[in-house]
């Protein structure tokens, strides 16, 4: 698959502080790419390098197989985490201004904006000033300005902060639609449930170094511990419990079910198969719950960062 953006061995120093140390990422075209990491890991620096706000000390960035240059500015839409608008300028006017900075002409900026404003049902905000809007309303305008010029690459830094659940959902659907229409999305967030929901690929940066990257599914496969949640309703539950404890490594359950009288987590060794376990459980009991424990993005994040 073609990579829309390739960053090779990016390093960036600020005085004695290393913001990025030899970080490489590949962002496949058309993907939704999660850029994850704790606060201060270097995500924003990497995003700023992609946006040509700062230049890397060493390393190269390729956009669409070309060395990143000022022509690519119009192909990128960036919604920073710390974002704002001019408080004293009318919404419509400043949206046009920001679109013009991205290379759109006035006419098409205006007609595209009208479309988006209609879509979000905010047309009557056109002549309002930002000071008259709530934070969430201003965020909507910022979102529109980010995507207005139909960039190939969209970079969202915490896009859902400040939105109520309904509007967060609206924005999420718009992002998915844009992705479906061909835009590649970089998504930087601490909200792991949205990573889980949206991202196909992730990269985890910690203390200026990349510690993990790849397809989210592959990463999950690597991180799973062969642990299963089981729950049965058994006539001789104490006997079964003893048997399971002698054969397997058992743990306290991390889930809830109803109608069972034996519930636990079981970790299989590499020479033990899940079929055997199911057969054993089915022998004298009614199987109520059987599920492999797959690590969540949240667990992967915490584990990787803590073990780094």
């Amino acid at each position: 698959m073609n990579n829309l953006l390739v960053a090779n061995s990016i390093s960036k120093q600020f005085g004695n502080f290393t913001a990025l140390n030899n970080v490489s990422i590949n962002i496949p075209e058309g993907s939704i790419f999660g850029l994850l990491g704790p606060n201060g890991a270097g995500k924003t620096t990497l995003i700023r390098i992609i946006n040509q706000i700062t230049a890397p000390d060493t390393g190269t960035v390729l956009f669409n197989n070309e060395s990143l240059n000022s022509n690519h500015i119009k192909d990128i839409g960036y919604l920073p985490e710390e974002r704002g608008l001019y408080p004293k300028m009318k919404i419509g006017e400043q949206a046009i201004y920001l679109a013009q900075l991205k290379g759109m002409d006035r006419q098409s900026a205006r007609s595209e904006l009208k479309k988006w404003f209609d879509k979000f049902e905010i047309s009557d905000w056109w002549n309002k000033k930002v000071t008259e809007l709530s934070k969430g309303m201003a965020q909507k305008v910022q979102f529109i300005v980010t995507v207005l010029h139909k960039p190939k690459l969209l970079i969202f830094d915490e896009p859902f902060s400040g939105f109520d659940p309904i509007n967060a959902n609206l924005i999420k659907d718009e992002i998915l639609q844009l992705n479906k229409d061909g835009a590649t999305v970089i998504f930087s967030t601490h909200r792991m449930e949205s990573v889980e929901e949206l991202c196909e690929y992730i990269t985890l940066i910690n203390k200026s170094n990349k510690i993990l990257d790849g397809k989210l599914d592959d990463i999950k496969r690597n991180f799973k511990t062969n642990t299963f949640e089981i729950a049965v309703n058994s006539l001789e539950s104490q006997v079964l419990k003893k048997e399971l404890e002698s054969k397997y490594q058992t743990m306290t359950p991390t889930f809830r079910t109803i109608g069972d009288n034996l519930r636990m987590n079981i970790k299989l060794k590499s020479n033990q198969s899940s079929d055997e376990l199911i057969n054993l459980l089915n022998k004298n009991s009614k199987l109520i719950h059987f599920k492999e424990v797959v690590p969540t993005a949240n667990e992967i994040f915490i584990n990787s960062v803590e073990n780094d």
Partner: protein
Amino acid sequence: MGNFTLITSREYLNKITNKTFILSTLLTPLFIAGIFLLIGWLTSVNNESVKNISVVDNTGYIYEKLNSSGTIKYELLGDFSIDEAREISNAKSDYALLYINDFESPKAIADSIKFISEDATLTVINNIESQLENILTNENFKINNIDINQINKRKVYVDLSQETFEGEKTTKADGLIKLIFGFILGMMLYMFIFIYGSMIMMSVIEEKTNRIIEIVISSVKPFQSMTGKIVGVSLAGLTQFVMWGILISVFSSLFSYFFGITTTYENTELILNASEDSEISSAALGMISAFMNLPLLNIMIAFVFYFLGGYLLYSSIFAAIGAAVDNQTDAQQFLMPITIILIVALYVGMLTVPEDPNGIVAQIFSFIPLTSPVVMMMRIPHGVPLFEQILSLLILFVSVILVIWIAAKIYRIGILMYGKKPSYKELIKWLKY
């Protein structure tokens, strides 16, 4: 270039449509014209009030020779003793009472004249004294059979014709005109730098605190964003200056039309009056010729360059300060040294230029780029050698390039730095990023 124009025009339009900006554009000339009006009104009130001076003349020849000029009116009181005259004059609420005793010699008369008044001004007293002097001197000549006409005919008047070593004609008024003109130019530069420099700073702080800046510089280079801002605000400043110039004259003439008070004394009027009041008109003529004697072309060209250089130098510093801090309070620490340097420039100009425009102190300060625009503008009306001006401009513009480069570096880093106020040490560190 497209983005630069966009930023400049946004900045410009945003400034000139700002309510405070519009108000100050309209109200400042109104205020200044109002002050002119007030001054004009006060002087006219002052001039219109007639000063009645009662005269008791025991000599019989002095009163008839006293000229009641404009606001001073002499009135013969008749034959009274000094105490009676004092009471009568006081009862009439006269401006003053002039009591002249009769003696044989004019000298004795002069010694005995009494002038009684609450608060006579120096000009009135001078006027009366010179009139009495003339009258009594003439009388004295007459007594001693000296022909005044003969004396006047033979009197020799001296008005030194001055010129410089380069052969240019100068007059007494020249020095004053040069001083005033230079001071006005220096002051204008100083004001422009401060008003619009800090406006640039505020604009940068605004973009930074509203967090719009990261969106902007993901589309344009920080350097473009900074220079666009500087040019946009400067154009707004020029607009305001021009508007002030137009509005002050409009308001002044409107006021004088509606209130019938002249707020400005027309030079032509004074020239026409030359024959009537030769002292004033010759001074006015002197002023005009002194003005024409100024190296006007040199002043104009130098003003444009020093204005441009000085303004660019300071406004880039202001932009960098705006980028380095989060709010106006933090900016004070960095503004302080700038303010001090500019005030020093102003004082050096005011204190050393009148004494010696080409003295060593004035010379040194007109080579230092931070002070040269103000000091040079004060010196140039007095005449500064061309090579000195060129050298000083060269230093200024090299510094401008250097300072813009440094400011751009600080700007680039500073606009994305939030939180604590940076120290000078950190600012220097930013230059190396």
